[in-house]
Symmetry: C2
Subunit: 396 residues, 2 copies
């Protein structure tokens, strides 16, 4: 007698999580060192020491009822101000605490703002491949997700395909930059073309189409690539952020929404987001960790280590004849299934105890995702297993 919808929630569950459980099973059977688990985006690099130091300092210096107590639902004003000022320094903006809503991770923020923006049956466009949880977030907000097929050459968004996908019910373009699962970073030029299409179509359909930019990987970029600040290119942009990756704090559920004053319906949109965040049951972002990230805004996880992994895995796999999207950001490598069948490819990988997530879970069959937020040593140990897999597919 559960809600009927629950069937799809359970059976259609997260492919990534399913692999995570499978990895635990294989590790128990063969020993953890003999399993090459590339399934989960769980940072293997510890949080910078500054974070735990900040937590200790907060406990030592601030009142218990303040640190562990309720604050205004949007988050501590001083924390929001510090986040705004950090963005101002980096992007030349002029935000204040009135633009920053502290959230229970990026997931909490995305669910909140989608609920604020969508009427039932409103449409949200995404570029495939895309983070599979977006399906649930959009459905939870009573909207309909409209994926645009991937460009298999570049895995960059195609503004002309976007133009064709827009309907009078389109309310949001949901971007993820740097991208999970491809590791591709969208360049300013592409984003400018997207902004032009959205401006034109918003006028045509008579209401703004918002960009919702999900940016938990903003700081995880390599080769001096830069990630454009989208609100500077398009006024109706809301940015969702999380410290899960940049400070290696995914379990802590701490992030924010940045709602610039340039958004149509600001400041009502902000007040609505605060109310929705409360009534969806988030209430407020966890308090102690809010205060700790405020003291750690300058800190960063050890991105060099991810970069070393990225280079070793990309070189290792391409040398073996696998085709991969050139990874510029996040900690994912997007690999083509040699015969185009990602389900079989992931299964055959598992026979060599390599755990990869099949692309069909990201709305893009024919590829697999490898998360390289793992030990460098595991990458080196995995290469002989990949070599066997390459041989089975007669690569090279």
């Amino acid at each position: 007698m559960l809600a009927k919808e629950m069937e799809t929630y359970i059976t259609g569950g997260s492919a990534v999580r399913a692999m995570f459980e499978e990895g635990a099973r294989l590790a128990a059977k063969y020993g953890r060192e003999n399993v090459y688990d590339f399934s989960l985006g769980n940072p293997n690099i510890p949080a910078p020491g500054a974070v735990n130091d900040a937590i200790r300092a907060v406990l030592d210096e601030e009142e218990s009822t303040f640190v562990h107590g309720y604050m205004t639902n949007a988050g501590y004003p001083d924390v929001r101000r510090a986040v705004a000022e950090d963005l101002n320094r980096r992007f030349g903006t002029d935000y204040s605490e009135a633009n920053i809503l502290m959230t229970v991770g990026a997931a909490g923020g995305l669910n909140t703002i989608l609920r604020v923006l969508l009427d039932p049956e409103d449409e949200v466009i995404v570029f495939a491949p895309y983070f599979s949880e977006y399906n649930f977030y959009v459905r939870g907000a009573r909207g309909v997700i409209r994926p645009i097929p991937a460009d298999p050459e570049t895995f960059r968004p195609d503004p002309e395909a976007l133009r064709k996908a827009i309907t009078p019910r389109t309310k949001v373009l949901l971007l993820n930059n740097p991208n999970n699962p491809t590791g591709v970073v969208y360049a300013a030029e592409t984003l400018r073309a997207i902004a032009a299409v959205l401006t034109e179509k918003s006028a045509e359909i008579g209401h703004p189409i918002y960009i919702l930019s999900d940016e938990p990987y903003r700081e995880l970029v390599y080769d001096a690539v830069s990630v454009p600040w989208i609100p500077a290119l398009y006024p109706d942009t809301v940015v969702g952020y999380s410290w899960s990756k940049s400070l290696s704090l995914p379990g802590e559920r701490i992030g924010y929404l940045c709602i610039p004053a340039s958004c149509a319906d600001f400041p009502v949109m902000f007040d609505a987001a605060v109310a929705v965040s409360r009534t969806l049951g988030f209430v407020n972002a966890p308090s102690l960790i809010q205060r700790a990230v405020m003291r750690s805004l300058g800190a960063r996880t050890d991105i060099e280590a991810y970069d070393r992994n990225r280079q070793a895995l990309y070189k290792g796999l391409t040398d073996l004849g696998f085709r991969c999207a050139p990874p510029q950001g996040a900690f994912y490598l997007w690999v083509q299934a040699p015969d185009g069948d990602d389900v079989t490819f992931a299964q055959r990988g598992m026979e060599h105890r390599i755990l990869m997530v099949r692309g069909s879970g990201f709305g893009c069959a024919g590829y697999v995702r490898l998360a390289y937020c793992v030990s460098h040593d595991m990458i080196l140990r995995s290469l002989p297993a990949f070599e066997k897999l390459a041989k089975e597919y007669n690569l090279k």
Copy 2:
């Protein structure tokens, strides 16, 4: 161009929160010591020292990637096991980690399980007065809330009124014990009568009616009153808990759902709850604080201090001629508006800088709620202001 529903979210916002903001305004104008703010259930008593000690110990003794990282979405298995064993010791149950889902506060848990149980238009019964946020939680899960009017003599649930309120669409009876806003604790006898009605009507309508028991105030009881463990009285009971009050950690958003194996649809219900908790955007309960509460299960906030406040406020107000429900639990006093008009009463209170929340916000006009989780000194200082208010109403 926000979702149309947002209008009611903003204008119908939380009455409690509105008072909270008003209190801040008055404090800025008259000085904090001259404002008697009884509006918000924000514990004024610090978390027991054991909590901060536990946080420090976790940071010192456990791996950063473990403490701040993803775990299985249901929460750390050892934390869930410890919570289960603590319940087993206290209530003679035989729970394991398979029954405990760690949640982002009780609010996260309630939203999760309501979504699991309700099909659109399914009905949730509550006894007025009730925590006003339930309106949003039920609506968020696409259900319909059906309040049963209060019994103004006892403020206890009336099993016969419940029987009449049940329809074929009834899916959940949502209880809050000890009760916010009345401070009343429901006795085993009442709960047994409720269980009998639910058993009979579940058979009649052909599906189980679940009790969802929201118990953040479980440990805040006085005069040696005991709070019955409802799953022992009725098999289809899910308990929602939070450490917000018992450990004074409301900002940390940490709680759990206990889903006993006696529930119809267990264990599918548990798996569905885990999936829903993930897809609603909670993902998992905040990690560090999960590990800290595991080490603090025996600790309790200073309930004596609340008891002192309770007695001083109850005696002070009844001596002045106000009528109050005898408070047995939580930290709320439920006071009758002398002429039955709670809106005017709250407004006239504000003229004496007394902040009380009007009962209409809890589905029960004619009363106001006073939260006595404040300094004892403020209670003493407030009594002369209440005396003036009593004179205006010609009490005594």
